[in-house]
């Protein structure tokens, strides 16, 4: 169903007027209330008076992830602290996290955009949504939850893991929409097979899959194995969480909820705004957020935008499924991982050298398998296997603590990992994404 026809099917020109109005309002507010933004705008010689339509957005400064970290916890808060009703932080990043603060109105807006996404997947208030995204500081769980509740769906807060129980809930409560990472969906399929559960006997009609990259092949496999229609969802903590954009039943691009999150594509080298259809770095501006709104946030995700006459009737701009990153961030089992984090962990372990290589592949059940090859420090080599196993377990535990995912550690001979003169080839990604 189309959850909010007025907003989702509005004439493009009309929407641009509204976006311009919201932008001016937001920028005026931030200039007055957030010293960080006032300084950035002053440095560029821009005032709220220069912003009169959405076309003026290019005059505004960008915001980077580093700046979000530097201003943690409340440096970018644009409302009184007591107006916050919920906070989230970004997942799996090293050191300082990034805050997302939500006022009551922000939660309503989050529920609204997420309800639209469920609608794009064919959802209606009579659906039963089994939400297998992680609940907690990660935005996935509660974001989907707010949207499903907003729509009026019976919402099962299953959270991730405990697969046998997932399948039992799915069967007993006749879940019709499953929300989780695509790799977890495939993992469920494996488990179901072992339990003798046939998805054709269940009631799933749609799956809302996101938080990690996936391919068309994976979509086909999920659709076949789970007997449902698979939809791609995109979101990020810095902007709101899940609900930024979603595929509709046309399965041809993700509609961006652009009345709340204004997207631009820029040349990552120069910052120049690129015309529609050109590939570049995705940038978002929160037009309506109250808690932690962001001006021109550089996502480092690479994609392109376009308008078309979508068969679903929505006029919301579309973005292509993510095509890559401008940095070296990896998404492993839904967790954001930077190679520098791995290096930091290894630096703290005296038995190894920070020479390493990560090999990423998908296992039989399409889950990311991460092998970390580490060189043994010569001084710690022992004639006993148990000593080397101890070192291996120590590294594995440290990685798990830092990255929140299981990493297979492979000890290799010193100096066997290729040294390069320039940028070391740290990552070998065999996944077909």
């Amino acid at each position: 169903m189309i959850w909010n026809r007025d907003a989702e099917c509005e004439a493009v020109e009309q929407r641009r007027l509204l976006q311009g109005y919201q932008l001016k309002k937001q920028v005026t507010h931030l200039y007055e209330k957030v010293p960080f933004y006032r300084k950035k705008m002053d440095d560029l010689g821009v005032t709220p008076g220069d912003i009169n339509s959405i076309e003026d957005i290019g005059k505004l400064p960008f915001t980077t992830k580093d700046e979000l970290r530097e201003t943690y916890p409340y440096g970018l808060l644009a409302c009184p602290e007591e107006d916050l009703v919920e906070i989230h932080t970004s997942s799996g990043t090293t050191g300082t996290p990034v805050l997302g603060g939500y006022t009551r109105a922000d939660l309503d807006m989050w529920g609204e955009v997420m309800a639209r996404c469920i609608g794009m997947c064919g959802g209606t208030p009579s659906d039963v949504v089994q939400n297998a995204y992680g609940y907690g500081m990660f935005t996935g769980g509660l974001g989907v939850h707010h949207g499903a509740q907003k729509m009026g769906c019976n919402t099962i807060p299953a959270a991730s893991g405990n697969t046998k129980r997932q399948l039992m809930l799915m069967r007993d409560f006749k879940s019709t929409i499953l929300t989780c990472t695509p790799s977890y969906a495939l993992y469920m399929a494996e488990e179901a097979k072992e339990m003798g559960i046939d998805f054709r006997d269940l009631h799933l009609k749609a799956g809302v899959f996101g938080a990690e990259p996936w391919s068309d092949n994976m979509r086909k496999e999920i659709e076949e194995k789970l007997n449902l229609q698979a939809y791609d969802i995109y979101g990020l903590t810095e902007i709101i969480g899940p609900g930024v954009s979603n595929e509709c039943e046309a399965h041809h691009g993700l509609h961006v909820n652009e009345d709340h999150f204004y997207p631009e594509i820029i040349n990552p080298e120069t910052g120049e705004v690129l015309p529609e259809g050109e590939k570049g770095e995705l940038v978002f501006t929160s037009l309506t957020r109250q808690g932690t709104p962001i001006i021109r946030y550089r996502t480092r995700d690479i994609t392109y935008l376009w308008h078309d006459k979508c068969s679903c009737g929505r006029t919301l701009v579309k973005m292509h499924r993510l095509l890559g990153r401008t940095d070296d961030m990896l998404i492993l089992r839904g967790v954001n991982v930077f190679p520098s984090q791995i290096e930091n962990v290894l630096m703290q372990i005296e038995e190894t050298q920070p020479h390493y290589q990560i090999v990423i592949d998908r296992d039989r059940s399409q889950l990311d398998e991460v092998e970390l090859q580490v060189e043994v420090e010569e001084a710690f080599f022992s004639d006993e296997t148990k000593e080397l196993e101890r070192i291996r377990a120590k590294i594995a535990q440290a990685m798990k603590q830092e990255l929140q995912i299981n990493v297979n550690i492979k000890l290799v001979e010193p100096k066997s990992i290729e040294r390069s003169m320039g940028k070391a080839k740290r990552v070998i990604d065999k996944r077909n994404l």
């Binding site: 043994v376 080599f381 006993e384 296997t385 080397l388 000890l411 290799v412 001979e413």
Partner: protein, 139 residues
């Protein structure tokens, strides 16, 4: 007396063992015994040889991770229960064995068991007190 053992870290890749043994051969080192402790990803090759220090240098030069450690070598009586006697001696005296393997003295055709125990000095003392000789080297 302690015996010097050479241990080499071997990644589980094709041809690695052949390379180790070739390096030792080229260095003119005669091997007396060898055994591999293996895990899924790597192995540790343990070698008793002549001139272990020279072998160590040759291996390091060839890029291997290796070290020389000390173990106990015991000549066994060539009769049923010969090994059990030694094992019981260690057990009774609380000497923990990390690993052991057996080999032959080349000239005498006599069995020698190599023991790596937790506390090597204590292990040797127990053997000495019970009239068991530990060998110093392989002739």
């Amino acid at each position: 007396m302690k015996v010097k053992q050479l241990s080499v870290f071997i990644e589980n890749t094709n041809g690695r063992l052949a390379q180790v043994t070739r390096v030792m051969g080229n260095a003119g080192v005669n091997m007396r015994a060898a055994t591999i402790a293996d895990t899924a990803d790597f192995g540790i090759l343990r070698i008793i040889c002549e001139k272990p220090q020279e072998a160590l240098l040759a291996l390091k030069e060839a890029g291997f991770t290796a070290r020389v450690t000390e173990v106990i070598g015991v000549k066994l009586k060539d009769e049923p229960g010969g090994l059990a006697d030694i094992m019981e001696l260690f057990e009774k005296n609380g000497v923990n064995i990390e690993y052991c393997y057996s080999t032959l003295m080349s000239d005498q055709g006599q069995a020698v068991v190599i023991f790596r125990v937790e506390d090597i000095d204590r292990g040797l003392k127990i053997l000495g007190e019970n009239g068991v000789d530990a060998i110093a080297s392989f002739g």
